[in-house]
Amino acid sequence: MAKIQVKTKINGEETEFLCQPYDTVLDVLRRDLNMTGTKEVCSTGDCGACSITMDGRLVCSCLVLAAETEDKNIETIEGMAKNGKFNVLQKTFLEHAALQCGICTPGMLVAAKSLLEKNTNPTETEIRYWLAGNLCRCTGYDKIVKAVQAAAEEIRENA
C-alpha cells in the first residue's frame, strides 16, 4: 500500500514526508528526517523527552501519529535557538548547570518554553507541576527549576 503523504511545517520550514499509518511524529522526525534532537526514551508518553509543540500546544511526539500533522505547525528543539543565538532558557540551563547527561534536556527545554509563553512569573510549584511530565534521572530537578526561574526573571526584565 502506498504510504501516506504529509505536508507540514517544522520549525517554520515547509516539510513533506511519507509515512506509514502507525508511524508517530517521533518516528518520522528521528528516523526519516534525521532530526534526532527530539529524544526517544519511553514511547508511552510517560517521560516527556520527545516533547514538541504542535500548533503551539505542548505534546509528546511519541503520542501523535505522523499522519495527523497535515498542515500543522511543529516546533522542535532544533528550532529553539534563532539565528545562531540561544533562547533564554538554553542560556540559563547552561549557566545553572541544569543538565548532566542531557538526554532529557531537549524535551525539558521545549516544555519549559511552553510554560513561559503562558506564564512569565510561575511559582516554584507551578514550574514543578508543569514539568512533572518531563523525567530527569540525573539532576534531582533542583537546578532545572532554578534555571526556569532565572529564565522567567530575565523574560520579565526584558518585557
Binding site: 506509514q20 508517530t24 508518553g45 505542548l58 503520542l63 501519529l65 516544555a111
Partner: protein, 290 residues
C-alpha cells in the same frame, strides 16, 4: 500492517459510515487524543487495520454554553477546556479530573471522549462526569442516542457502544445555585500515575441542607460507580458527622476492587472512604461559594 488505513473524516456522518463499514471487515479504532490508543498500538495490544481520526469533525471539537448548559465535544483536549474559563467555574470537579490525566503534554491531546471510550476502570474524568450528571451523546448508523455516563461502561475496556457508534459530545445539566463538584484521586506520586482510587462528589445545598448529592468512585471496581447509597445518606442531611460517615461506609461497601501492582483491596477500600470525605469537603466549600 501494509493494509492499514488512516481516515480523517470531516463530518460525523462520514465518520459513522466509515466506522460501521470498516468495523465489519476488521479492527477499527477511533483516534481522538491518541494518548491511550498510540500506547496500545506501540505495545501490540491493539493493531487496528483502520484508524479514524475524529479531530477534524467540528462538532467533536466544539465547546458551547447554552444559557448555563455546557456541551463539550468528545475530542476537546484538556488544555483547551482549561482555557474556557467559565467551564471551570461551573464544573471545577470535572475540569480538575480531566486535568489530572497525565502531564501537560498529555493535556495537549487527551479528551473526555477518549477517557470515556478507553473504558479503564481508573479513568480520572469518568467519576467526575458521573457525579456531574452529564449525559453522553452518541451517534451511529441507526441515529442518535443519549446515555447517562454511569450506564456507558460494561467492564474494563468494554462499553455499551454498538457497532459504528461514536461519542459526539457531553451535555452537562445547568449548574444549580449553591452546588459544587470536586474530584480527588490517590496516586503514589504527585503526578504521572494512574489513580489507585478516584472519587467525585457533586452536592447542592439549600439553607445548609443537602438537597442533592451524587457520589462516584473510580478504580475500585470493573467500572466507575455511582454510589447511590452515599447520595441517599447525604440528601436531607446537614452534612453532620453521622450522615457523612454513613455515606463513607456506602462508598467502602460499593468497592469491589482487585489486588494489583498499584494497590491492594484493603488499601483501596480504606482510601475510598478518605477520598470521599475530602472530596465532599471540597465540594461543600465550592457549593457554599456559588
Amino acid at each position: 500492517m501494509s493494509e492499514v488505513k488512516f481516515i480523517s473524516p470531516e463530518t460525523i456522518e462520514q465518520a459513522v459510515d466509515a466506522y460501521s463499514k470498516s468495523s465489519k471487515e476488521g479492527n477499527t479504532k477511533i483516534l481522538a487524543g491518541g494518548t491511550d490508543l498510540l500506547v496500545q498500538i506501540r505495545s501490540g495490544i491493539s493493531q487496528p487495520d483502520t484508524i479514524i481520526d475524529i479531530k477534524n469533525i467540528k462538532e467533536l471539537k466544539e465547546i458551547s454554553n447554552d444559557n448555563g448548559s455546557y456541551t463539550i465535544g468528545a475530542a476537546v483536549a484538556g488544555a483547551v477546556l482549561d482555557e474556557e474559563e467559565d467551564f471551570g467555574n461551573n464544573w471545577p470537579g470535572v475540569l480538575e479530573a480531566l486535568k489530572l490525566i497525565g502531564s501537560e503534554q498529555i493535556q495537549g491531546r487527551a479528551s473526555l471522549g477518549g477517557n470515556l471510550c478507553n473504558a479503564s476502570p481508573a479513568g480520572d474524568s469518568v467519576p467526575a462526569l458521573i457525579a456531574s450528571g452529564a449525559t453522553v451523546k452518541i451517534q451511529g448508523p441507526e441515529g442518535e442516542r443519549k446515555m447517562p455516563i454511569e450506564s456507558f461502561h460494561v467492564g474494563p475496556g468494554k462499553t455499551n457502544l454498538k457497532n459504528g457508534e461514536i461519542v459526539v459530545n457531553f451535555q452537562f445539566p445547568k449548574k444549580q445555585k449553591h452546588s459544587g463538584d470536586a474530584y480527588l484521586r490517590m496516586i503514589p506520586r504527585t503526578e504521572m500515575d494512574i489513580a489507585v482510587v478516584g472519587c467525585a462528589v457533586n452536592v447542592t445545598i439549600e439553607n445548609d441542607k443537602c438537597v442533592d448529592a451524587r457520589v462516584a468512585l473510580g478504580a475500585v471496581a470493573p467500572t466507575a460507580l455511582l454510589i447511590e447509597d452515599a447520595s441517599k445518606a447525604l440528601i436531607g442531611s446537614n452534612f453532620e458527622k453521622k450522615a457523612v460517615e454513613k455515606a463513607a461506609l456506602a462508598c467502602e461497601a460499593a468497592c469491589n476492587p482487585i489486588d494489583d501492582k498499584r494497590g491492594t483491596i484493603s488499601y483501596r477500600k480504606k482510601v475510598s472512604k478518605v477520598l470521599f470525605k475530602r472530596a465532599l469537603e471540597k465540594a461543600i466549600e465550592r457549593a457554599k461559594r456559588g
